[in-house]
């Protein structure tokens, strides 16, 4: 696959290419206009020189003559850069003064000065002007002044530089401005990207589109429509799993009651053993069904968010723990409660939070010591917490990251389980924005702490 096209370089290229053409065109035009004006002023000065030369032509003894002192000719030819040539030529008497090798031009018009140019040598071109003086002793005198074009070329280069430099600067400034403009223009996109990155998988609420420019609105609208459909689809799926689990409950209840009843009546040891196996299987099936239902309920979506209400963690923990006491006593475990008298409120789903605690307690009963000590605790504070602590063998370092994975069971533990318990704990915590921290108490064992987020400022703590 090729690298993705960049909107920024596309925009830059599409704006700067036409600008470059405009700059080049305007540079070309300015250069030519500049050179034209320069040539005109040089031609003018040549013309002036030719005119002053012409004024020196006199009629002496009935014929045209020119008296040009040596110093004047020196001055005429004085030029630092260019070679200056001149010629005063009589049609009747031939060369009167100046350079003989300047060819006498043919005049198209009799009165107008004739401007001409011709090759001088390999590098230079000769630019000149020729005048015709008529009615001088019935003669025609041609006065020509010409010079090479080094100065003209230098000037042309100066004009070129003077035009191109600001144009190039302009182009650079424009490029910078365009780049800045594009960056500012794309900022809402960057903000959208950040918002999408920062959001958790559980959050299917629409993207904020208040400060999104009109051009990006269709994109956010489409994303929001997709999120809405996703939310609805998730809701349908959750309801399906929940309905399926509910439907399973009644036949499971019948199976369980029938097996337990038969087990009570059973006289034969062999039947009893088989029934006991069946009872345990049904037990696991029941547990798995309940866990699937809980997982479906804890999964993100509008359904789960709508169930959130203020929950008193202390009361919930006390009630859930109390219900677990008879089972703990049966196992010989010392299940205790640690927490104050005052309510500890969080926003949440009481049913799910109860399930979370039941799973942590089940986990502690299954993996703690046979007659060990289990403590269920509630902590108030800015970030309320629940914890369940046992004094069992604890969880090996290597297993800690994996205990929350679905269907994962710590190798070497004999306890029967689906491996879903801690995954459910994790899922429910996540749905509440809480984190599950696995700690090792000072005396050994394992402590699962569920830390809730600080209450949002919009919900006043009562």
């Amino acid at each position: 696959m090729s690298a993705p096209r960049s909107l920024r370089s596309d925009l830059l290229a599409e704006m700067l290419l036409p600008m470059l053409v405009v700059v080049l065109l305007s540079g070309y035009l300015s250069y030519h206009i500049g050179v034209r004006f320069a040539r005109q002023s040089y031609d003018r000065s040549l013309y002036e020189t030719a005119r002053s030369l012409a004024q020196q032509v006199r009629v002496v003894d009935g014929r045209a003559r020119i008296a040009l002192p040596h110093a004047a000719e020196e001055m005429l030819r004085a030029d630092e850069t260019d070679i200056v040539q001149f010629q005063v030529y009589s049609r009747r008497h031939g060369l009167l003064a100046g350079d003989a090798d300047l060819p006498v031009p043919d005049f198209e018009s009799e009165d107008k000065p004739l401007y001409f140019s011709r090759d001088f040598d390999d590098e230079a071109t000769l630019y000149g002007v020729a005048l015709q003086l008529r009615d001088i002793a019935e003669d025609i005198v041609v006065v020509q002044v010409a010079e090479t074009d080094r100065k003209r070329k230098a000037l042309a280069q100066d004009v070129m530089a003077a035009v191109l430099l600001p144009q190039t600067l302009l182009l650079l400034l424009a490029a910078l401005a365009v780049r800045g403009g594009i960056r500012t223009g794309l900022k809402p996109l960057a903000r959208l990207e950040e918002a999408l990155h920062a959001r958790s998988q559980a959050d299917l609420s629409p993207l904020p589109d208040d400060d999104v420019p009109a051009e990006v609105r269709p994109l956010t609208d489409a994303v929001n429509a997709l999120l809405l459909r996703l939310d609805a689809a998730l809701g349908v799926q959750q309801r399906f799993v929940a309905d399926a689990a509910h439907q399973l409950r009644t036949p499971l209840a019948a199976l369980k009651v029938q097996i337990e009843h038969t087990l009570r009546k059973s006289q034969s040891l062999q039947d009893g053993e088989a029934l006991e196996h069946m009872r345990r299987s049904v037990e696991r099936l029941v547990r798995l069904t309940n866990q699937l239902l809980t997982l479906a309920r804890a999964e993100p979506g509008a359904e789960s968010r709508n169930r959130f209400a203020p929950v008193d963690l202390r009361a919930l923990a006390f009630e859930t723990g109390s219900a677990c006491v008879p089972r703990a006593l049966e196992q010989g475990a010392d299940l205790g409660f640690a927490g104050g008298e005052a309510p500890v409120r969080v926003m949440g789903d009481a049913l799910l939070l109860g399930e979370l605690l039941r799973n942590l307690l089940d986990n502690a009963l299954a993996h703690g010591r046979r007659d060990g000590r289990i403590t269920l605790g509630v902590e108030e504070g800015e970030r309320p917490a629940l914890y369940v602590e046992d004094d069992g063998p604890g969880i090996p370092e290597a297993e800690r990251a994996r205990v929350f994975a679905r269907f994962h069971r710590v190798p070497g533990t004999g306890a029967a389980g689906s491996g879903l318990g801690l995954a459910i704990v994790q899922e429910i915590a996540r749905a509440h924005g809480a984190e599950v921290i696995l700690e090792t108490p000072s005396g050994g064992g394992a402590r699962f702490r569920v830390r809730f987020p600080a209450a949002a400022p919009s919900t006043p703590a009562r």
Partner: protein
């Protein structure tokens, strides 16, 4: 006197298993499969306890319950439901159900709840209630063991009565304080612990255990004679 239960449940397999088990445990069980039939039989006969499914054909369990409480019938009702939504539970209990059990349940758990409900119902009717060799006569405000009345103060009686009516369940210190004190008063944790210590000595010798639960409170349990 046989205790008479009404089972309202439309799932045949579950109902037959349940009825058979409860009969084996010594209860007389009538079984109906719909809300309408439940209404009819409730008009005709009296029951000591009703096991009520919520999701019934025709009239729903909640409607049966509303009708029952509308007629001020004090019979204890234990709801059996496949749904465990908090709303259902709250609505059921608000309408006057005494307990709520989610399917599938343990038979032992169901029977324990039935016993607890019957104990409370009996006590409120002034009849005798028995837990682990202790006999409670709420009307006479007397508790006897091995045929002899125990010598109890009012608070000691109140505590044992509370524990017996909630046998097998956790009783918190807050509940004890609420039950034994007049309004506005409160018992300190130390006072409750002293009271429990005294009561424990007085019921010594009965096949019953009053356990202390760290942080939770207390529980009164039958001690199996095994």
């Amino acid at each position: 006197m046989t205790t008479h239960l009404l089972l309202v449940e439309d799932d045949v397999d579950l109902a037959e298993g349940l009825a058979a088990s409860l009969r084996q445990s010594g209860y007389a069980v009538d079984w109906v499969v719909s809300g309408t039939e439940a209404e009819r039989i409730l008009q005709a006969s009296e029951f000591d306890l009703i096991l009520l499914d919520l999701n019934l054909p025709g009239k729903s369990g909640l409607e049966v319950l509303r009708g029952l409480r509308g007629r001020k019938t004090p019979v204890p009702v234990l709801i059996l439901s496949a749904r465990d939504e908090t709303d259902d539970r709250v609505r059921g209990l608000d309408l006057g159900a005494d307990d709520y059990l989610t399917k599938p349940f343990d038979l032992a758990e169901l029977e324990a709840r039935v016993r607890a409900l019957l104990r409370r119902s009996l006590a409120s009717e002034g009849q005798q209630v028995e837990v682990g060799g202790l006999l409670l006569d709420a009307a006479a405000r007397c508790i006897s063991a091995h045929g002899r009345a125990l010598d109890l103060t009012a608070r000691e009686f109140g505590l044992i009565e509370l524990l017996m009516l909630r046998a097998g369940q956790v009783v918190s210190k807050a509940q004890i304080s609420e039950r034994l004190c007049v309004q506005g008063e409160e018992m300190s944790d130390g006072a409750i612990e002293t009271l429990v210590h005294r009561v424990r000595r007085k019921i010594e010798g009965c096949p019953v255990a009053l356990r202390t639960l760290r942080g939770f409170g207390y529980i009164l349990e039958n001690v199996r004679s095994a």
